[in-house]
């Protein structure tokens, strides 16, 4: 119904034509209006800032893939570190060492962390002990990791008389526990109140409600927190330098698995090898860095996938 006539005779709509077009000022797009211009400028600024923020991340990832990827092979993942000037070798013992120490720390942290999370979520808000525990956990989240190392050095290394995988696991667990506690508390609090009410209405005791309803429902969220803590622990270097130190050998003594001796880890291997004047060691450090990033990435992606599943359910 767009005719010259309707355009020529603006605002007043034609009485007899229900589809007549009415003219409004400023309905069409134009960069000349200040409002539109400002909008375009700010959008550009946001895009620019995003690019600036992503630049270091992307350059590290590209650099790692480039320089670490060259050296990456199955033998690198399974062999022991080479001596200076020796060709070949790998960091299989460091992968195993990281896995063992992070695994031990996780096994120790999960039961304590989740139960503390249950306490924080279920205790009344004005409970003094819960407030103190929550405050301590929040402070610990930002705890300098080197101090966790110093703590484990004093508590385990000095007490047992030597650097060990056990001391490394203790140091890592100190760093992991606040994350697990706080994410568990959040996950349990996010369980809809009506489910708690339903359990009570069925005659469930508080304990039954926690173990049969709250924890199963919060499980994906709790696992997300655990994976985040694992990802952080994998990359920690400072606490391990004080506790597990390093080793060029497998985590065994006399052919038997031994937690009480100095143990290699990916992070400390990177730290040691990157500064060496030998090309082979430096290349191995790059490859180890790539492996470490991939491990952390895998842990993070698992955590995200689990939390997405939880959000879909609730």
């Amino acid at each position: 119904m767009l005719t010259d006539e309707t355009l020529d005779s603006p605002p007043a709509p034609l009485e007899d034509d229900p589809f007549a077009q009415v003219d409004f000022p400023g309905l069409e797009k134009s960069l000349r209006r200040p409002r539109t211009l400002m909008n375009a400028l700010l959008s550009g600024l946001v895009a620019l800032m995003t690019a600036v923020a992503l630049a270091p991340l992307l350059s590290v990832v590209i650099m790692l893939a480039w320089r670490g990827g060259k050296k990456l092979s199955l033998s690198v993942l399974t062999h022991l570190p080479p001596a200076p000037l020796e060709a070949g070798g790998g960091f299989g013992n460091a992968i195993l060492g990281t896995a063992v120490m992070v695994g031990l720390a996780t096994l120790a942290v999960v039961p304590f962390g989740v139960l503390i999370g249950v306490f924080l979520a279920e205790a009344p808000l004005e409970n003094r002990l819960a407030q103190a525990v929550r405050f301590a956990a929040k402070v610990l989240t930002g705890f300098p990791s080197i101090l966790a190392g110093v703590f484990a050095y004093g508590a385990v290394v000095l007490a047992t008389g030597g650097f060990s995988a056990l001391a490394g696991a203790v140091a890592l667990s100190v760093l992991m526990i606040p994350t697990v506690v706080l994410t568990s508390e959040d996950a349990i609090r996010m369980v809809p109140a009506r489910m708690r009410e339903a359990a009570l209405g069925m005659g469930a005791t508080h304990t039954q409600t926690v173990f049969m309803v709250l924890l199963p429902t919060a499980l994906p969220g709790i696992l997300t927190g655990v994976m985040l803590a694992v990802a952080r622990a994998c990359g920690e270097t400072a606490p391990l330098v004080f506790t597990a130190l390093f080793s060029n050998y497998w985590i065994t003594s006399g052919g038997r698995f031994d937690l009480m001796q100095p143990t290699a880890s990916l992070a400390v291997l990177i730290y040691n090898f990157a500064g060496m004047p030998f090309a082979n060691q430096v290349e191995l450090a790059w490859a180890a860095a790539l492996v470490l990033v991939l491990l952390v990435l895998a842990a993070n992606l698992t955590g995200q996938a689990l939390s997405r599943r939880q959000r879909q359910q609730s």
Partner: protein, 280 residues
């Protein structure tokens, strides 16, 4: 489908006197003198007898304490901070507010269905079997689950997907799932707190038919905002109203009687005005 022996704790006809009640006899004798939440006096002077195999409805305007009275009957108010109660609630001869009574055990004999359908984030089967697991029921759980789902008129819709999440069902189905969950343990009484207010008219009608069906086996008390609903399903009706004379908003029972009498020949002016829609 024959019923297997009842669960260790709740069971059909289990009562403190050791003698089964006949339909129409009082199962819960509730007498609330005063009920406080903190300093707020929520309900006063309300006495209702809940009769066996009957549907008892509570109607009244918002704030008249209908839900509060209902939640008194299985001690769901205990979890509300600052809850205080004077009076008595006798369930088959037991004063359920006596200090020696375990509140969680009371709720196993007096089940509850809530306003918002609240299935657990677990499979349909596990939702219905929840109460059986809670009580450590050792018998044939699958049979009990099937019976409960059949009695709540949900079996045909879910029998092929018992492993799917209870949350995947529609609102009306979720509410029937919650009813199945509540009756799987064979409670004596079923409390329903506005069970249809979150449902569409078709799902509402289904739940209403279900209630009439279920009263053959269970005793039902229901809170409803919907007067027609009370008129359709309830045998007895209690009308609660808000008393603002003391400054607060305190609910109290104005009139209690057969539904027909309450709707056709109310004795109190407040009831008459409310039923005829003169105020809300």
């Amino acid at each position: 489908m024959s019923m297997t022996p009842s669960t260790p704790a709740p069971g059909q006809g289990s009562n403190g006197n050791g003698q089964a009640k006949a339909p129409g006899e009082v199962v819960i004798d509730c007498h609330i003198k005063e009920l406080h939440y903190g300093t707020f006096k929520a309900v006063r002077d309300t006495a209702v007898p809940i009769q066996k195999n009957r549907i008892t409805a509570f109607i009244g305007p918002s704030g008249s304490g209908k839900s509060t009275v209902l939640r008194c009957l299985n001690r769901m108010n205990d979890v509300v901070r600052g809850f205080r109660f004077s009076g008595h609630v006798r369930f088959l001869g037991h004063d359920i507010y006596h200090p020696s009574i375990d509140a969680t055990a009371v709720r196993r004999y007096i089940g509850m269905v809530f306003q918002q359908p609240n299935p657990f984030a677990m499979s349909i089967y596990n939702n219905v079997a929840f109460g059986l697991r809670l009580n450590g029921y050792k018998g044939d759980r699958a049979e009990r689950v099937q019976t409960a789902l059949q009695r709540s008129a949900l079996w045909d819709e879910v029998k092929d997907k018992l492993g799917e999440s209870g949350l995947s069902l529609s609102g009306g189905q979720q509410q029937r799932l919650c009813i199945a969950r509540a009756i799987a343990t064979e409670p004596e009484v079923l409390l329903m707190d506005e069970p249809c207010s979150a449902l569409d008219p078709i799902a509402t009608r289904k739940i209403e038919e279900l209630m009439v069906d279920l009263k053959q086996r269970y005793t039902i008390a229901i809170v409803t905002h919907n007067l027609q609903q009370a008129a359709r399903v309830a045998d007895q009706t209690g009308f609660l109203y808000v008393d603002t004379s003391e400054g607060g908003r305190t609910g109290y029972l104005v009139e209690f009687g057969d539904t027909k009498q309450i709707f056709d020949a109310p004795k109190e002016k407040h009831t008459r005005d409310y039923i005829s829609g003169e105020f809300s």
